[in-house]
Structure formats: structure tokens, C-alpha cells
């Protein structure tokens, strides 16, 4: 098993890392493009439509076309906006979304993975920075919908970050490590199998909190079209808008990957190569997100906040205590 | 079952938390159900525990490390001894019945849930106090029950009397608690531990080998005193705590006032359980008192004095609850007396029977108050017709209290009197006997005033629902028959409490003494009948007694005495000091002040109330100091 941790630091290895990271970057852009494509297809199919099919065979290049369209669009900065904030907010939102991918173990060989001993915390900590980007974007736009969208977004994301963090604790207690690699290998040998089985409560909480963290249906209030037009990025156009979208979809991928790693055994699996297992599980997770989006109406803001604090957090705490008590008994 | 002992206090705690969290949203039924269920399960477990302890003897302490400071480790845990087991049973039993009773009594109170929260918290604390395995924990629970008592006495805080009474109860018992705390600290200094087992083994050690305290490596104490002094001092200090809690003379003043609380509270806390905690403490620390004859004597004397003293006050009070409260004080005096003369079992026996019949009396009184909305004895009468169950059960309680055979009180009280007589304290025996006489008189005074004659009020009295009568009936049965567990013929309790004790420690039945005390009781009843029977009012009698009546009615002017000897000097001193302060000290100060004021006015702008200015001044000063330091250091 290859891992950077076991290697001495040489220029060659540095180059290797750089190449690995660049590969991940392009892979991520590719994945995001096809996640969007996948989403449009899945939702289309669920709505008896065929989804994108014009650009390229089966519409495979649709997302690429969209990206180019956005790149070529005029970058409008509203006159009332706070210019510097308006400019850097999408970047603040995007950078952490990409950085969290550094710790996800995609395969059994960790060329693309930093085996941090605090991997889970790394994810949680980094992802909370994106909230700043979102709230700044909303604020800088000087638009009512944007501001409300940004604030709501922030309130929602902070509220659901707590249950998200708590739901993971059960897994950590079972695995005894914050290192995502270790968590995966533990799941291979654990007597309960993948942690979705012993941590089913945690998993449910995780999924719900994850959907809310992603601002996706049924928790897509910040960009609730029927109320807030487009939420915090109402005023954004062109590539700046694209970076918000990119951040959003990178998080879709990242959180699915995290869920896969924590609960579904990561790259673990028989017969097939490990990266394929990882891809399959992550896709299934992502599919579920889209499936929910195709089905659910949107929850209301007060219900949303109440749900996080009055239901999810107590349940997550209960799960921790339950896990603690059970692992003392068993 | 015995492994579940820890659950007994925890269940009320859980009930407390649940009620706290759900609060007003629950119906009264649900609140009662939760609370009663919590103590009922506790009761069942307690029965199991008693059975198990009876069969297999005490249960080894379960101890966890709690905190560690340096070399010292504080522990937490619990312990089941025969004594604990008995107390557990008594407390849970009475609690269950009182909880049930309260549902009806407190019905409609808008803070119904809060009341049960407090009760649950109290039961938790009391049970914790009972089963704890070390002194520090005991002290914590001791204070907790004090707090609960405070909260419950002041439950109707909007009544000024209740608020004052709560404060009084709290402050007076605090005096005792300070003594207890010092005692505990002394014990710790002497033995190096808070654990009962360790402390007792040390005491045993001192008693047998006469080892010096210094041998234990705790020098601090040896420099001050020898072992015997230490033991006596400690015991006395612990006893001070007990005096406070058990309302013994001279710290008894709070208990009658505490009757401002709701009646179930009086029944549970101020008759059956918490006030008995003092007695229990002495029983629990019995080895300590055994080791010091001085302390034992003190306990006996205080107990005897309290018994007769409180009984004499009870003779004349007009408030039904106050009479019973003074009765409680008096009965607690009996228990202390028993402890003092070494009749440990008798004391505990009386504690138990007293818990039953006094709870009964309170609840019956509560039932009466609930029906009449008054506590004044002279406004009652003739209730036998309207409230037959209350009447019957009250009568049972009164007979038990008066020590009429075969009711429970007879056996236990007689036990104490016999023990006192046997130990050679004839004066105290006489005190006890007179107190017994008084007891019969005052309780039957209450009985006759309340139940016989004709009804004087306007409200139509009636029995409460089954939740009110059921506890009365159960307690009535207990008050009647509980005495049989420790008759001289079948000393079951003695065997239970002292399984390893010498067989002959219980004196053989002393028919003479038994007869005497029974007769005294009957005489008392007779006197009460002659004075108050059939609705008579003994005003004339009171006038004839004149001074004595006034003395008794005004509680021997103890409160006034306190006001005179404590409050007055303090206030006078304060007045004097204030005079000195105002005219002499202040004069000087004002002179200086006037001078300073002019300077201050000019300087006040430096103290503009702005934190940043202060910060700046500090920083500037620091910088200046740094410069000076650097200069001195030769850097600059």
C-alpha cells in the first residue's frame, strides 16, 4: 500500500504529489461536469424526459458547453455591490471545497490522498470556511434576495454542520481514528461490517445533514427559487456564478465520497478494483441525492431550523451515547 | 436485587429530569404517574434489598474514583448495610404514599409539576443520603435535602409567612451544617478518609489499641489535641449537624414554622424522612458516639430535654399542624435520647414507627385542612361524621403516638424508655415519661377538638378521593401493626439491625415499665377527654394555669430569647459602630474627601469610564517600565 506518509520527501516525490493533485483537480472538474450531467439525466428520466441530449452524443458534452458558455459570459458587477468582496467571495467558497478532496481515500493506494490523522476533522473544518464565502457573496451583492439567501444559507449550514459532525462520531468511536484510511480498513475487518449497519442512525442523520449542508432539495431554501429567486448568487453571472455552482457540485461529490468512506466501506469490496468500488458507491450516494431532489418539496425555513436543533442533534447525541453504551456492553 | 440499589435514588432523579424537561405540558395524572412509578419501583427494589440484606448481610460498598488531587482521591459510591436498607424501605414507602396523596392535595395548583419536581429531587437526595458510602457525599446530599426543604417550605413563596419560614429553616439548619462540616473535616484530618468503612475501622483501632493520631501521619491534628478530645469534639460537631437537621433543642425553632409548606411536604420531609436524617446520622456514625461517653451523654440530655420541652409546647398550640410539628420535635428527642443512652436499635425502631404514624397524622391533618381550608383547631370539630376514614386513621395515629398498646408507638417508645431506665438515666427516664404523658394529652386534644363535638365551619367537609384515602389507610395499618416487628417477644428488627450483636443486648421484657408507660398514655388521654372531650373548650383551664399556659403557648419564648440574646446585641453593636463610623470615621474621611474632591474633579477626566483609556494607560505604563528595565539592564 503506497502512501505519501511512508515516503521520504524528495523533489521527485514532490513532483509526484503535484501530478497527483493536478490529476485530482482535472478529475474533479470532469466529475463535476458529469455529476451535473448525471443529475440532469436522472431527474429527466424520473420526470419522463430524456434530459440533455443535444451537445455531443447523448448530450455528453452539454456540461462542457455550459461551462464554456459561462466562461464567455459577461461578468456583471452590480453598481451597488461591494466590489472587492463581490470578487473574492466565490473564490472563498470554492477553495475549501476543492481542498477537502485531499483527504478522501479514493483507492487502496493513496497516491491521491493525504493520510491525515485528523482527516474527518479536516473535512468538517475546511467545509465550514465555505459558509463565509457564501454569506459574503450574499452580503456583497447588496440585493435583498441575495442577502436573505446568504444569511439563510449560513444559518442553515451552521445548523446542520453540528448534526453532521455528531453523526460521524459514532463511526469514529468504532474505528478509533480520525484517519479516513484507517476508517476504511477498519470497516473491512470490523465484525459488524460496513459502518452503515451498526451506525444506521448515524447514517440517516448524516445523509439528512449532508443534503442540508449541500443546500439541496428538500433543504434548498437559500436558493428557493419560488421565494428568493436564486438566493445568494442572484447577482452573480458568468464564471463567478460558475464557481459557486462548481463549489456546490464539488461538495456534492465530496460529501458523497465522505459518506461512502465513513459508512459504506470506502473502496472496500470484492472482485472489482478498489477505485471502481469507490466510484460505484459514491455514484449510488449521489444518485440518492438526485432521487430525493426529484421527489421532495421544499421544507420551510422555521421547520428547517427546528428540525436540525430539535430532532437531528438530539438524535445524533443519542446515537453517540447509544454507541458508547453498546460498545461498552458488547 | 441488591445490585440494583443504586437505581432507587436514580429513579426519582430521572423523574425529576423528565418533569423538568416536559414541565407544564404534562397532565397532572401523567406527572403523578411518573413520580409514583419512580418511587414505587424504588420501594419494590428496597423490599428486595431488605430481604437480601436480611439473608446475606451487608453489601460491600461500590466505590468509584471521583476526583484526584495530588495524593488524595475522593471517591463516590454507595453502600448497603442493614441500617441503610431499613431506611431505604421507610423512605420509599412513605414517599410513595405521600406522592399519591399529593396528587389530590395539590390538584389544580399551577405549579403542580414544579411541586413534584422538588419532591422527586428531595427523594433522590434523601435516598442518596441514605445509601452513600462516604461522608463527603453524605454532606452533599445533606445539603441537597436542605435545599429541597427550603424550596418546598417556600413553595408558596407568595405567602410572606412561607417565604420567611423557608429562610428561617434554611438559616437555622445551616448553623448545624457548619458544625457537621467542621466535624467531617476533623474526621478526615484524623483518619485520612471520608469513607465510612475506613473511618470506622480507624475508630475501632483507636478504641482498642489507643493508638495516637500521629501514627496515621496526619500531624496537623495531633499537635492540637489527643485522641479522646478529637473523638469527643468530632462527635459533638457531628451532633450539632444532627441537632440542626432534627430540630433538637435549641435549634428546633425552624420546624414549626416550616409547617407553612404544603402538608404533604410536612408529612414527608418534616416528619418522616428529612428530620429523621439527624437521627439517622447519629445512628450511622454510632461508632463515633460509642467512642465518646461525653458526646453520648450530651446526645441523651439534649434528646430528653427536647422531648419534654417540645411536648409541653405542643399542649397549647392552636394550629393543628404546629401541634403535630412540636410532636415531631418531641419524638425526635426520644430518638436522640435512645441514641444517647446507646439504644441504637430502639432509636431506629422509633424512627420507623414514627415515620409511619407521623406521616399518617400529617396526611390526615392535611386531609382535614384540605377539606376545611383552615388550620385553626378551634374552628374545627365534629368531623367524625363527615370524614370517617380520616377520623379512623387519625385515631390510629394518635393512639400510636400516645403509646397505647398494641399500636406501633407503644412498642418503640416503650423500648426507648426501658433502655433509658436500664442505662441508669433515671432523670431522663422521668423526662421521657412526662413527655409521654404530655404527648397523649396534646394529641388527643387535637383529636377531640377536630373530630368530636359539632362542626363549626361553614364549608361542607368531605373525604378526598381514593388517592387521598388510600395512603391514609395504608399508613393507618402500618401505624397500627408496624410495632410488632420489634416486640420484646420477637425482636425481628433488632436481629436485623444487629445481626452480629450479642444476643442478650435487648433487655428482657420489663413488664413493669411497659405497664407504667401504657398507663401514663391512658392517663393523658383521660385528661384530654376531661378537658376537651365532646367539643368542650378548656379556656378556663388555660386561665387557671396562667403563666404556664402562656409559657407553653409562646413556645417558652425561645424565639424572643433568640431575638434578645443574639439579634439585639448584634443590632446594638451595629448601631454603635454606625454612630462611630458616621461621625468619627466619616468625619475624618469627609475631611480628606473634601480635600481629595478638588483634586478628583480635576483628575476625573483620566477615569472616563472608557476601557480603552485604561488599557492605554496600562500599556503606556508597561512600556515605561520596559524602558526603565531595559535601561537598568544596560540595553539602552
Amino acid at each position: 500500500m503506497f502512501s505519501w506518509q511512508t515516503q521520504p520527501l524528495t523533489w521527485m516525490h514532490f513532483l509526484g504529489m503535484l501530478i497527483g493533485a493536478v490529476i485530482v483537480l482535472f478529475l474533479v472538474l470532469f466529475i463535476v461536469m458529469y455529476t451535473i450531467y448525471f443529475e440532469r439525466k436522472v431527474i429527466g428520466w424520473m420526470q419522463n424526459r430524456i434530459g440533455p441530449n443535444r451537445v455531443g452524443p447523448f448530450g455528453l458534452l452539454q456540461s462542457a458547453a455550459d461551462v464554456f458558455k459561462l466562461l464567455l459570459k459577461e461578468d456583471i458587477i452590480p453598481a451597488n455591490a461591494d466590489r472587492p468582496m463581490f470578487l473574492i467571495a466565490p473564490i472563498i467558497a470554492f477553495v475549501p471545497s476543492f481542498m477537502v478532496l485531499a483527504v478522501i481515500p479514493y483507492t487502496a493506494t493513496h497516491i491521491f490522498t493525504a493520510g491525515l490523522n485528523v482527516g474527518v476533522l479536516y473535512y468538517i473544518a475546511l467545509s465550514s470556511i465555505s459558509i463565509v464565502g457564501i454569506v459574503l457573496g450574499g452580503w456583497a451583492s447588496n440585493n435583498k434576495y441575495s442577502l436573505v439567501g446568504g444569511l439563510r444559507s449560513a444559518a442553515q449550514m451552521i445548523s446542520y454542520e453540528i448534526p453532521l459532525g455528531l453523526s460521524i462520531l459514532g463511526v469514529i468511536m468504532l474505528a478509533g481514528s480520525l484517519n479516513l484510511n484507517t476508517i476504511v480498513t477498519h470497516q473491512a475487518t470490523d465484525r459488524f461490517g460496513w459502518y452503515i449497519i451498526p451506525q444506521i442512525i448515524g447514517f440517516v442523520v448524516f445523509v439528512i445533514a449532508a443534503i442540508a449542508e449541500l443546500n439541496r432539495t428538500p433543504f434548498d431554501l437559500p436558493e428557493a427559487e419560488s421565494e428568493l429567486v436564486a438566493g445568494y448568487f442572484t447577482e452573480y453571472t458568468g464564471f463567478r456564478f460558475a464557481f459557486y455552482m462548481l463549489a456546490e457540485y464539488v461538495y456534492v461529490f465530496a460529501i458523497s465520497a465522505l459518506g461512502t468512506t465513513l459508512f459504506l466501506g470506502g473502496w472496500e469490496g470484492p472482485f472489482l478494483p478498489s477505485w471502481l468500488w469507490f466510484a460505484i458507491k459514491t455514484s449510488a450516494f449521489i444518485f440518492f441525492l438526485f432521487w430525493v431532489r426529484a421527489t421532495m418539496p421544499r421544507i420551510r425555513i422555521d421547520q428547517l431550523m427546528g428540525f436540525a436543533w430539535k430532532v437531528l442533534i438530539p438524535v445524533a447525541l443519542f446515537n453517540i451515547l447509544l454507541t458508547g453504551a453498546l460498545s461498552l456492553i458488547l | 436485587m441488591i445490585g440494583l440499589t443504586w437505581l432507587v435514588p436514580v429513579l426519582p432523579l430521572i423523574a425529576y429530569v423528565v418533569l423538568l424537561a416536559t414541565g407544564k405540558r404534562m397532565s397532572e395524572m401523567a406527572i403523578t404517574a411518573i413520580s409514583v412509578l419512580a418511587v414505587l419501583i424504588g420501594l419494590i427494589i428496597s423490599i428486595g434489598v431488605v430481604a437480601a440484606v436480611g439473608q446475606h448481610g451487608p453489601y460491600a460498598p461500590v466505590v468509584y474514583n471521583w476526583l484526584a488531587f495530588g495524593q488524595t482521591t475522593l471517591t463516590m459510591g454507595y453502600q448497603v448495610t442493614n441500617l441503610n436498607a431499613m431506611m431505604l424501605l421507610v423512605v420509599t414507602l412513605v414517599s410513595t404514599l405521600v406522592f399519591l396523596f399529593s396528587k389530590s392535595y395539590m390538584h389544580g395548583d399551577e405549579r403542580f409539576s414544579r411541586f413534584y419536581q422538588y419532591l422527586n429531587l428531595f427523594v433522590f437526595s434523601m435516598l442518596g443520603l441514605v445509601i452513600t458510602s462516604n461522608l463527603l457525599e453524605l454532606y452533599i446530599f445533606w445539603e441537597l435535602v436542605g435545599v429541597c426543604s427550603y424550596l418546598l417550605v417556600g413553595f408558596w413563596y407568595f405567602k410572606p409567612e412561607a417565604a420567611v419560614a423557608a429562610k428561617k429553616a434554611f438559616i437555622v439548619t445551616r448553623i448545624g451544617d457548619v458544625g457537621l462540616f467542621i466535624g467531617i473535616i476533623l474526621l478526615y484530618l484524623g483518619t485520612g478518609s471520608f469513607d465510612f468503612t475506613v473511618v470506622f475501622s480507624h475508630l475501632h483501632h483507636f478504641a482498642s489499641a489507643q493508638a495516637s493520631l500521629g501514627a496515621l501521619g496526619h500531624d496537623a491534628i495531633t499537635r492540637l489535641m489527643n485522641v479522646q478530645t478529637w473523638v469527643t469534639l468530632t462527635a459533638l460537631l457531628v451532633f450539632v449537624g444532627a441537632v440542626g437537621k432534627s430540630a433538637q433543642f435549641p435549634l428546633h425553632v425552624w420546624l414549626p414554622d416550616a409547617m407553612e409548606g404544603p402538608t404533604p411536604v410536612s408529612a414527608l420531609i418534616h416528619a418522616a424522612t428529612m428530620v429523621a436524617a439527624g437521627v439517622y446520622l447519629v445512628a450511622r456514625m454510632f461508632p463515633l458516639f460509642e467512642a465518646s461517653s461525653t458526646a453520648s451523654e450530651t446526645v441523651a440530655i439534649i434528646g430528653g430535654v427536647t422531648a419534654i420541652f417540645a411536648a409541653s409546647i405542643g399542649l397549647t398550640q392552636r394550629d393543628i399542624k404546629r401541634v403535630i410539628a412540636y410532636s415531631t420535635v418531641s419524638q425526635l428527642g426520644y430518638m436522640m435520647l435512645a441514641m444517647g443512652v446507646g439504644a441504637y436499635v430502639s432509636g431506629m425502631f422509633h424512627l420507623m414507627t414514627h415515620a409511619f404514624f407521623k406521616a399518617l397524622l400529617f396526611l390526615a391533618a392535611g386531609s382535614v385542612i384540605h377539606a376545611l381550608d383552615t388550620q385553626d383547631l378551634f374552628e374545627m370539630g365534629g368531623l367524625r361524621k363527615y370524614m370517617p376514614i380520616t377520623h379512623a386513621t387519625f385515631l390510629a395515629g394518635a393512639l400510636a403516638l400516645s403509646g397505647i398498646p398494641p399500636f406501633a408507638g407503644f412498642w418503640s417508645k416503650d423500648d426507648i424508655l426501658t433502655a433509658t431506665f436500664d442505662s441508669g438515666h433515671y432523670v431522663l427516664y422521668a423526662f421521657g415519661l412526662i413527655a409521654a404523658f404530655f404527648t397523649a394529652v396534646y394529641i388527643f386534644r387535637v383529636y377531640f377538638l377536630t373530630f368530636s363535638g359539632t362542626y363549626k365551619g361553614s364549608k361542607h367537609p368531605h373525604e378526598g378521593g381514593w388517592v387521598m384515602t388510600l395512603p391514609l389507610l395504608v399508613l393507618g395499618l402500618l401505624a397500627t401493626f408496624a410495632g410488632f416487628i420489634n416486640t420484646p417477644f420477637a425482636p425481628i428488627l433488632s436481629r436485623f439491625l444487629q445481626p452480629n450483636g450479642p444476643v442478650g443486648i435487648d433487655p428482657p421484657a420489663n413488664w413493669g415499665l411497659m405497664a407504667v408507660s401504657a398507663v401514663v398514655g391512658l392517663l393523658g388521654i383521660g385528661l384530654a377527654y376531661s378537658l376537651y372531650g365532646g367539643g368542650k373548650r378548656a379556656d378556663a383551664w388555660a386561665k387557671r394555669m396562667g403563666f404556664l399556659y402562656a409559657l407553653s403557648y409562646n413556645k417558652w419564648y425561645i424565639d424572643e430569647l433568640y431575638a434578645l440574646i443574639i439579634v439585639l446585641p448584634v443590632v446594638t453593636l451595629a448601631e454603635g459602630l454606625q454612630f462611630f463610623d458616621r461621625w468619627i470615621v466619616d468625619g475624618l474621611v469627609r475631611l480628606i474627601g473634601e480635600v481629595g474632591y478638588t483634586g478628583g474633579v480635576s483628575l476625573k477626566y483620566s477615569a472616563d469610564g472608557q476601557i480603552q483609556t485604561y488599557g492605554l494607560v496600562t500599556a503606556f505604563g508597561l512600556a515605561a517600565l520596559a524602558l526603565v528595565a531595559l535601561r537598568i539592564g544596560g540595553v539602552l
Partner: protein, 120 residues
Amino acid sequence: MYGNNYLFVLIFLALGVFLPVSSLMVIGPLLRPNHPSRAKTTTYESGLEPVGDARARYNVRYYLFALLFVIFDVEIVFLYPWAVEYKHLGVFGFVEMLIFILLLVIGLVYAWRKKVLEWK
């Protein structure tokens, strides 16, 4: 070398900054048109002229939720090491955490009952 992991993270950081900066500030301006006009740069408000400043002061409850968040965030921070070492801490650790959580739950319940958690 454990530090290598952070070097890797650092590379991700660099790339993560590089991508938006390069595309937004270098490539973007070369590709996209730029013809601002007053109509384009006005703030959107359902097709009307905006009324008042959007940055009106916002409701205090946002602050309250952020407050709860900070507190619970710190709690999670302490829960993580606990969870990692949980297997070695045993009953004692469990009890310690029970107390810890209980205290915070009391806070939460308090906030709940004081209607801090109500959005309205």
C-alpha cells in the same frame, strides 16, 4: 514523513486558489465581453427599481443560531478526541462524556424552552 501529508494538502490549496484566480482574473477577461450599462448593473428586484438598501439590519435570531453553533462546534471539538480514544477510556470516559453532553443538553433544552430555537 507525516509532514508530507500536509505538503499534499498545501498543493491542493495552491491548486484550489490557482484555478479560480487564473480563470477569473487571467483567462476570463480575455474571453468575455465587457459592456456594462446602467440597466445591467442595477440590482435585481423582480423587475422593478430596488426600494431602499438591502443591507437593512437583520434579525437577531441569526445571531442566536450562530451562537448555538459556536458552542456546539466547540463541543464537537472535544468529542472528537474522546471518540478516538473511546475504546481505551472505558466506563470512566463514558461517564465523563455523559456529564459533558448532559450539561450541554441542559443548555440546549434551556434554549429550547426559552424559544431561542424558534425561527419565528
